[in-house]
């Protein structure tokens, strides 16, 4: 479902991704590991078109991305099928928890308001937050906010989920509740790419691990091989 072929990206003349290729099982949980500044976030952002790239190609959830700027219609289509969860949650502070989750189904999925809210309620229940639907995101703990962010990304029923260090902004006590949700998704067969520093989690959930160093693939293989 995800293919990366010799992807290169420059930032002010410097290659932050250098001929990155992915060789792994088709439907799977991929973990991206590597030291800080090695290009993990950049690679993830290329996968849903938040970044452009200079060479190579990406195929993801049936879409094909090529070098240079992406057309707006391509991006809208792509992002219906690829959800993203950010390190800093990026919840919308002016909307209730329920409306955060219901926004994309309503605007992008063109569901009626009631139908969108019903779907949002079901997702919030799935991440264990059904009693917080009316709250503003700012009143929740970090772990709860990240679970809302996951529910929000799931609301478009994406074929691929991207996670960028989903627990590194959290207090240690809260990482477990978020990881449990992600592991649960993985068990349910959700294709995903997870940037993580957490090797224990990678071993538990990932069936393919890619290690980046200075923009290149240093090693890739199963968790047992790489870690």
């Amino acid at each position: 479902m995800i293919g990366i072929e010799s992807l290169s990206k420059l930032r002010s003349g410097v290659a932050v991704l250098d001929r990155v290729s992915l060789a792994g099982p088709a439907a799977a949980v991929t973990a991206l590991v590597g030291p800080s500044g090695s290009g993990k976030t950049t690679l993830l952002r290329c996968l849903n078109g938040l970044e452009t790239f200079e060479a190579g190609a990406i195929t993801i959830a049936g879409h094909r991305l090529t070098p240079g700027p992406h057309a707006a219609e391509v991006l809208v289509q792509l992002r219906r099928d690829v959800g993203m969860v950010f390190q800093q949650f990026n919840l919308f502070p002016h909307l209730s928890v329920l409306d955060n989750v219901a926004l994309a189904p309503r605007l992008v999925g063109r569901l009626a308001g009631a139908e969108a809210r019903r779907r949002a309620g079901a997702l919030l229940e799935r991440v264990g937050l059904s009693s917080f639907t009316a709250a503003r995101p700012g009143t929740l703990s970090g772990g709860q906010q990240q679970r809302v962010a996951i529910a929000r990304a799931l609301a478009m029923q994406p074929r691929v989920m991207l996670f960028d260090e989903p627990t590194s902004a959290l207090d240690p006590g809260m990482t477990r509740e978020v990881l449990d949700v992600i592991v649960g998704l993985a068990r349910a067969g959700q294709t995903m790419v997870v940037v993580t520093h957490d090797h224990a989690f990678a071993k538990q959930a990932a069936n393919w691990v890619v290690e980046l160093a200075e923009g290149r693939v240093a090693r890739q293989g199963t968790a047992a091989e790489v870690l």
């Binding site: 938040l50 707006a72 993203m84 950010f86 990026n90 919308f92 502070p93 994309a104 503003r136 995101p137």
Partner: protein, 505 residues
Amino acid sequence: MKGVGRAVSGVLLAAGWVAMLPAGGAELDEVRRRGELVWAADQEGGGPHVYPDPADPRTLAGFEVEFAALLANELGVRPRFQQGQWDRLPLLLGQSVDCVINGIELTPERRRDYHCSRPYFGYALQLIGRRDAPPAAAADVAGTGPSGAWRIGVLSGSAAESEMRGLVARGAAQAEVVGYDGTLDSLEQVRTGVLDAALMDDCIFTFYADRFASLRAVDRPFAGGLYTVLSARDTPLLAAAIDEAIGRLIADGRLKSLYDRWDLAGRQQMLLLRDATEIPAARQRSLLELVSQTLPLLLASAGMTVLLSCAAFPLAIVVGLAVAIGRMYGPAWLRPLLTGYVEVLRGTPLMLQLYAIFFLLPKIGLALPALVAAIAGLALNYSAYESEIYRAGLKAVPPGQFEAALALGLSKWQALRYVLVPQAVRVVMPPVTSDFIALFKDTSVCSAITVIELTKRYSVLALTTGRIVELAVVTALLYLAMSWPLALLSRWFERRLERPAGGRP
């Protein structure tokens, strides 16, 4: 709050200041010691009274310039000119000015409030129209015009204005009377077709007839009156000396030859001045009478102030938001154009923009009614300021918000509409509200294009009644009553913003 607060305290301060002054210029002995008679006029009023000499615009020409020189000479001193806005000239008597010589008509109210000299000139009122358009005769204004009521321009605060309003009140004219700050403004508006006619002192049109070749005098002049030299109530010796001097100028023929030189029918003037009858002084009104007579007018004008603000500001907000979004997210070719729009509107005075809309657009065939022009001008001007506020507000939203919206599949415009703008609005509410108060205050500029709002109404009433202080207090209270709710709203928004509504990741 600052804006209106400042305007209101300005009115109060000015009023208190005028009241405290030893209402008067210098008495005769001081004028003699100083060696100068300081006389005030408005050179913008134009010819033939007082105007910049076309041959040398640094010097003044006009029959009143020469009359002032003769008068000063009779008192044994030199004349010195002081510029002032025409309808506020009498106020200068409370300051450094000894007398006002500028086509000031002799009226009962002026006789009550100032020393009015014996008349030095007689005028009649002349209706001016376009050569190719009605009214054909002065009597025609009693019926309806080509499109309902006639639109007739007058100089604000002039005898022409009170004559015309009197005719309307008595049902002898069906007209909308439009007041201008300059005489030539109304001629210009007759030429462009915004007005049907103008009413003014006959000598003015005679003087400018060549410049306005498409205009003509409608019928013979009607009504009319006399010009007087104003001096302060508490300088009786100066006033007496001025009267004697005018008497001598009439008796020995110097005034006649002055008028003949200016083509002002010297002999007719002398006959008129010889038989000029005394005009009685008006009665002083009690405070209760004053308030009950002026309050309805002031309230109606306060309504105009509210109407201007409430119509212009929502437009300014909508246009400002569109401009801000266009500058930040629009196509590359649009951005410099919008930057230019903002800089031009912020970099030029509101007054000039209103003038351009009201006086220049008719020249290219787009004549807007004054109220529409005023609302459009205010809205355009403020849209530039609002767009800058919105730009700052949009920049204050963390970039992660935009990316999160895009990552969910929202288009750029959906992200703006549902994620960025709602968050920016919350941030900009306090500055936008205080801008509303500033706009509220700025509506007074609209009087330059004939829209009578509260400040203009105050200054007209203060001048015609002479009750500057009392009316200033009433006016200030009206402004406060209108701005206070806005100030409270602004503070409420500020408090709401300080409250952590949280969640900003």
